[in-house]
C-alpha cells in the first residue's frame, strides 16, 4: 500500500510544491499592506476559497484521472484489497494537501514568530491544524463526489457550511465537526471505492450517513425552488409583496420612512401611555432618527482561532509600541514596532513595565475575558468597559454593566447622532460620544432601556425627543412573522422607561406554506438545524420553536405523502428488510427531503420508466 501511496504522491509532488511556493509568495507580498496575522475577513474568505476550493478540485481531479477508461482497471486490478488501494490514494492526497495548504501557513506563522514583531501563540499554530483538517475535508468531498455513483452526493458540500459558518464558542465546537466529518467522509470513501463504480451504496449505515446531510441541503434547494413557482411569477406579474407591501404585516414596516414608522407603530396598537403616545406623534416629524445595531455576536473566546479576532492591536503611537492581546497570559503584551522587543504589559488594572512585574500582580491584572479592542483606546469585555490612556499610561474603568449583564456585540458608534450604543443581554444603552471620550468624568448613560422578552430582534430605530429618547423595536416573533410585534418605548432624561404602545401583526406577506416552507417540508430538520447551529455558536440564536397548527397539519400531510411515495418507489428497487427499515425511519422522521435523498441515492435510469425490452435473439446452441 505504501508503495502505491508513494507513487501517487510523486505524481502531484511537484504541483503541490509549486502551489505552496506561489501561495507563500502571495503571503509575503501581502506583508506590504498588513501584518500576516491581521484578522482580515476578506483575506480569510479568499484563503478559504483558494485552499478549500483548491483541495476540493484536487480531490475530484485525482479520481477523474483514475476513472478514465483503462486507468481504473490498472489501478484496481492488483493483488491488494480495494480498501488498501483507497487508503493509498487518500494518504497520498492528504500528503499533497498538507504541503499545499499547511506548509505555506506554517512557514509564515513560524517566520512571524521567530523574526516578526507580532505576537504569535499556540492558537496561531492551531489555526493551521484547523485549516488542514478543513482542507482535508474538502479534498475528501471532492473524492467522494467523483467516486460515488450518485451525483446527488454533491449536496454534501453543504457540510462545509456547518464547519465554516458558526463562530465556534468552544474548542470542541471548533474542532469536533471537522474531525467527525473527516471520519465520516473517509468511511464513505472507503465504501465507495469498489471495482465497479457504477453500483450504488446500499448499506443502511452508508445510506443514512449520506441521506441526513443531503436532506439538510435539499431543504435549501427546495426553498430556492420557490423562486420558480412562486416568487418569480409574482415578480413577473408585479404582485410580489416586496414591491407591493402587504398592509398589516411586519414586512410593511420595511417600506416605511422613519417618521412613517412611528405613526404605523401607533396605528391599531395597544397603547399603554396615551399622553406619551400623543407627544411622540407630535414630535415625530421633526425628530432626528438613528438606527441602532442589535445583532448578537459571539464574544471573543480564549484561545480562539486568530482569524476570528475582531481587532488586532492597540498602538501607542508616541512610544511606537504595539499591544496585542495574549490569550496565554490574558493581558495585552507590548512589543516595539520596529525591534519586536518586549515593551510592557497592559492589564485590566493598569500598565506594567514587564511581564515579570505583571506576574507579581497577576490576579488583579488579568482580564476576565478576551476583550474587544475599540478605537485604539477602549477594551470591552463581559460587563466592563475600560479606557486605556497611553499618554498617562493608565487604565480606568469607564463603565460597568449590572451583574449578570454582558455585552452581546462590540460598542457601536452611531455617527448620525453622535451616540455610542451598547447592546447587552438585558438593555440598550446610549452614551453621548463626546462624554464617552472624556475619560476624566464618570460615564453615565444618556439613555437606557430594558429589552422586552423577545424572540428575535432586528435593527432598532431610535429618535430624539424634547423630553428624552424613543425607540421602536421590531420583534419578528416566530421566524415567519407569526406573532410579530413592534414596541414603542420612551426613555426620559431621568432614565425612566415606559412602554408606550405595542402593535401586533397578524398578516403575513406570503402564505404560510411559503413563509414556513422549510418547517413544512421537515419539522425535524428545521429543529435539528437550529439546535446544531446554536450548539456550535450560541450567538446565532436560530429559533427552533414549532409552528402553529395549520403549518403542523401541512407538515403531517407532507410526511404521509412522502411515505406513500417511498413505498411506491422503493418497490422498484427490490429493497431488503434492512433497507426498507432504514428508509421508512428516514422518511418518517425527515419527510420529503429524505424521499428526495432516496431517489438520488438509487439508480434512476431504467428503473422508474422501463422501456419495452427488444426481444433478444434466440440463445445459440452450445458449441
Amino acid at each position: 500500500m505504501f508503495e502505491l501511496a508513494k507513487s501517487e504522491f510523486y505524481r502531484y509532488q511537484k504541483w503541490a510544491c509549486l502551489w505552496a511556493l506561489v501561495v507563500l509568495g502571495v503571503f509575503l507580498f501581502s506583508l506590504r499592506y498588513q501584518p500576516f496575522l491581521y484578522p482580515d475577513q476578506a483575506k480569510s474568505a479568499l484563503n478559504n476559497l483558494l485552499m478549500l476550493g483548491g483541495s476540493f478540485m484536487f480531490g475530484a481531479l485525482q479520481i477523474v484521472l483514475h476513472r478514465r477508461k483503462n486507468h481504473w482497471t490498472f489501478l484496481i486490478h492488483r493483488p491488494l484489497p480495494s480498501s488498501g488501494i483507497c487508503n493509498a490514494i487518500l494518504l497520498a492526497g492528504a500528503a499533497v494537501i498538507l504541503i499545499a495548504v499547511g506548509a505555506p501557513w506554517l512557514v509564515m506563522v513560524a517566520g512571524t514568530d521567530v523574526f516578526g514583531s507580532s505576537l504569535v501563540e499556540f492558537r496561531h499554530y492551531s489555526y493551521i491544524v484547523y485549516l488542514c483538517l478543513t482542507a482535508l475535508m474538502s479534498y475528501q468531498l471532492g473524492v467522494l463526489i467523483v467516486l460515488n455513483a450518485s451525483r446527488g452526493i454533491v449536496l454534501l458540500v453543504g457540510l462545509l457550511v456547518l464547519v465554516l459558518a458558526p463562530k465556534a464558542d468552544s474548542h470542541l465546537a471548533q474542532f469536533a465537526p471537522v474531525i467527525v466529518f473527516n471520519g465520516m467522509l473517509y468511511y464513505l470513501n472507503k465504501l465507495s471505492f469498489k471495482p465497479d463504480l457504477s453500483t450504488y451504496l446500499r448499506g443502511p449505515i452508508a445510506q443514512s450517513l449520506l441521506a441526513v446531510p443531503m436532506s439538510f441541503n435539499l431543504v435549501y434547494l427546495l426553498i430556492l425552488s420557490t423562486v420558480v413557482f412562486y416568487h418569480g411569477p409574482k415578480w413577473a406579474l408585479g404582485t410580489h409583496p416586496d414591491t407591493n407591501p402587504v398592509d398589516g404585516s411586519l414586512s410593511y414596516t420595511y417600506s416605511l420612512n422613519k417618521d412613517e414608522l412611528v405613526y404605523y407603530t401607533l396605528e391599531n396598537a395597544k397603547v399603554f401611555a396615551p399622553d406619551l403616545a400623543n407627544s411622540i406623534r407630535l414630535q415625530a416629524d421633526e425628530s432626528n432618527y438613528h438606527w441602532i445595531a442589535a445583532s448578537v455576536r459571539s464574544h471573543p473566546r480564549s484561545h480562539q482561532l486568530h482569524l476570528d479576532d475582531t481587532s488586532y492591536q492597540l498602538v501607542d503611537e508616541k512610544n511606537n509600541i504595539n499591544y496585542q492581546f495574549s490569550h496565554k497570559h490574558m493581558v495585552l503584551l507590548g512589543k516595539h514596532a520596529l525591534t519586536g522587543e518586549p515593551a510592557g504589559v497592559i492589564g485590566q488594572d493598569g500598565f506594567y513595565r514587564s511581564l515579570s512585574e505583571f506576574k507579581q500582580n497577576k490576579e488583579s491584572a488579568v482580564f476576565d475575558r478576551v476583550p474587544y479592542l475599540i478605537e485604539n483606546r477602549y477594551a470591552a469585555f463581559g460587563n466592563t468597559l475600560l479606557s486605556i490612556n497611553f499618554e498617562d499610561q493608565s487604565v480606568s474603568e469607564r463603565f460597568r454593566l449590572r451583574d449578570n449583564e454582558y455585552l452581546q456585540n462590540m460598542p457601536y458608534y452611531m455617527r448620525e447622532g453622535g451616540f455610542i450604543s451598547l447592546f447587552t443581554n438585558q438593555r440598550i444603552i446610549l452614551f453621548d460620544s463626546q462624554r464617552f471620550a472624556y475619560e476624566y468624568e464618570t460615564l453615565a448613560p444618556n439613555f437606557a432601556f430594558d429589552l422586552p422578552d423577545t424572540i428575535e430582534l432586528t435593527n432598532i430605530l431610535g429618535f430624539e425627543l424634547a423630553d428624552g429618547f424613543a425607540f421602536i423595536i421590531k420583534d419578528k416573533g416566530h421566524y415567519s412573522g407569526v406573532g410579530a410585534k413592534t414596541h414603542l418605548i420612551h426613555v426620559d432624561y431621568a432614565q425612566n422607561e415606559t412602554l408606550v404602545a405595542s402593535r401586533e401583526y397578524t398578516v403575513n406577506r406570503h402564505p404560510n406554506w411559503i413563509e414556513e416552507i422549510d418547517y413544512m417540508l421537515s419539522p425535524l430538520l428545521y429543529v435539528m438545524r437550529a439546535e446544531i447551529m446554536n450548539a456550535l455558536d450560541e450567538a446565532l440564536a436560530i429559533p427552533s420553536d414549532t409552528s402553529e397548527m395549520t403549518v403542523n397539519l401541512q407538515a403531517v400531510i407532507v410526511h404521509v405523502i412522502s411515505l406513500i411515495l417511498l413505498i411506491i418507489l422503493g418497490r422498484k428497487h427490490e429493497l431488503n428488510k434492512a433497507q426498507w427499515a432504514t428508509w421508512i425511519v428516514l422518511v418518517s422522521s425527515l419527510s420529503f427531503p429524505a424521499l428526495l435523498s432516496f431517489v438520488l441515492l438509487h439508480p434512476f435510469k431504467g428503473v422508474y420508466f422501463k422501456k419495452p425490452q427488444r426481444l433478444l435473439s434466440a440463445k445459440p446452441q452450445a458449441v
Binding site: 507513487s7 490498472f74 486490478h77 492488483r78 493483488p79 471495482p195 435510469k605 427488444r614 445459440p620 458449441v623
Partner: protein
C-alpha cells in the same frame, strides 16, 4: 477450490441502456493454452473482460474466475490474472525502474529473469520516464512486467493495436517465448488474424454478445466452405441473385462477384450438401476453394455485420 476452467460464465447478460453487450453468454475457458477471442466491434469482447476483472457488474447470470465470483475477486485471485489493454496503461509520471520496484512489491512470484528476458526484445532505458516511451516501447515494458508477475492467466486485449511491424513482431515473439516457459493460460483478443493464426490454440468468436464458436482454428476453418459458381444463365442481376437465390440457401454467409462468377461462402455445410442445394437451383459449382482463417472469420462475422442501406447512400 481448484477448477479445470480459469474462466466460466453462465447465462451472462450485460446491458447498457437499450444495448445488450453480453447476451446470455455461457462460456468456459480451460486452464492452459492460448485462447483467442475474436469478434467485430461491439461484439462484447471488452465488456467481457471488464466483467471478468470485476469493474463492471452483470445484469444477470454468473461469471467466475478460478471459481470466485468476478464481482468479488480476492487479492489472491487478482494476483493470478494479469491484464494488458490496448493502450498499455502505465503510470506516465514514473520512471521504468521505479515502476518495476513498485510492481515487485505487489507480486510475490515476481521473476526478474523473465522480465529481463522479455524486455530484451525491446530497447528501453530503465531510467526513462514512461511518458517518454513510444507506443511500442510501452507495450514491451507492459508485457515484460505482466509476464514477470507469473500470473496463471494472462488476458491481452488487442495488445498490438497501433504498434509498428517491428514492435508487433517483438511483442509476439516475447509472448510465445513466455508461453513456452510457463504453463499459464493466455486469452488473446485481436482483430489481426495473422496473429491469431500464429499463436491461438482455441478460437472463441463472439457476435453481438453471444458465443458463436469455440474450437481450434482448424476446426473452425473446416466449418467454412467456399465455392465458385456461374449463374449467368439464370438471367438475374447480381443483387437479385443474392436476394432471391443465394440468401435462401442453407448455411449461406456471403457472396462476392468476381468477373462473371460468384464466390459463395457457407457455414456448417458439407461440400456435398452445398452442391446438392445449388444443383436444385440449376447452379453448378465451378470449383471449391481453400479458405484461410482470415477469410473464414471475415466471412463468418460479415453475416450479421451492419451495412448502410441503399436509400441513404444514393448520390444527389
Amino acid at each position: 477450490m481448484c477448477s479445470e476452467f480459469c474462466i466460466e460464465t453462465h447465462d451472462l447478460v450485460k446491458t447498457f441502456g437499450d444495448k445488450t453487450a453480453i447476451n446470455h453468454l455461457t462460456l468456459a475457458i480451460p486452464n492452459n493454452g492460448i485462447h483467442a477471442i475474436v469478434g467485430s466491434n461491439g461484439a462484447g469482447k471488452s465488456t467481457l473482460f471488464r466483467l471478468l476483472l470485476g469493474v463492471d457488474t452483470p445484469n444477470s447470470g454468473s461469471i467466475k474466475v478460478y471459481g470466485e465470483s468476478a464481482t468479488n475477486l480476492s487479492p489472491t485471485t487478482r494476483a493470478k490474472v494479469a491484464y494488458v489493454n490496448e493502450e498499455h496503461t502505465l503510470p506516465t509520471w514514473m520512471k521504468i525502474n521505479a515502476l518495476l520496484k513498485m510492481q515487485k512489491h505487489f507480486y510475490p512470484k515476481w521473476s526478474d529473469t523473465i522480465y529481463n528476458n522479455v524486455i530484451g526484445f525491446f530497447d528501453v532505458d530503465p531510467n526513462q520516464k514512461i511518458a517518454g516511451l513510444s507506443r511500442g516501447e510501452r507495450a514491451g515494458v507492459n508485457l515484460a512486467m505482466v509476464l514477470a508477475q507469473q500470473a496463471s492467466t494472462l488476458i491481452l486485449d488487442e495488445p498490438t493495436l497501433g504498434l509498428d511491424v517491428v514492435a508487433k513482431q517483438s511483442f509476439l515473439e516475447a509472448l510465445l517465448f513466455a508461453e513456452r516457459e510457463s504453463e499459464s493460460t493466455i486469452i488473446y483478443c485481436s482483430h489481426q488474424m495473422e496473429e491469431i493464426e500464429r499463436v491461438a490454440e482455441n478460437l472463441i468468436i463472439l457476435e453481438k454478445g453471444q458465443l458463436t464458436n469455440s474450437s481450434t482454428p482448424e476446426a473452425f476453418v473446416e466449418r467454412i466452405k467456399s465455392v465458385m459458381v456461374e449463374a449467368e444463365h439464370l438471367g438475374l442481376s447480381a443483387s437479385s441473385l443474392k436476394a432471391e437465390v443465394f440468401e435462401k440457401l442453407p448455411g449461406f454467409i456471403n457472396t462476392k462477384s468476381i468477373d462473371e462468377s460468384y464466390q459463395l461462402t457457407f457455414v456448417d455445410r458439407t461440400l456435398e450438401q452445398i452442391t446438392a442445394d445449388l444443383n436444385a437451383r440449376s447452379i453448378n459449382i465451378s470449383f471449391a476453394q481453400n479458405v484461410s482463417l482470415n477469410q473464414a472469420v471475415n466471412a463468418f462475422l460479415s453475416k450479421h455485420h451492419s451495412r448502410p442501406s441503399q436509400a441513404k447512400h444514393t448520390p444527389a
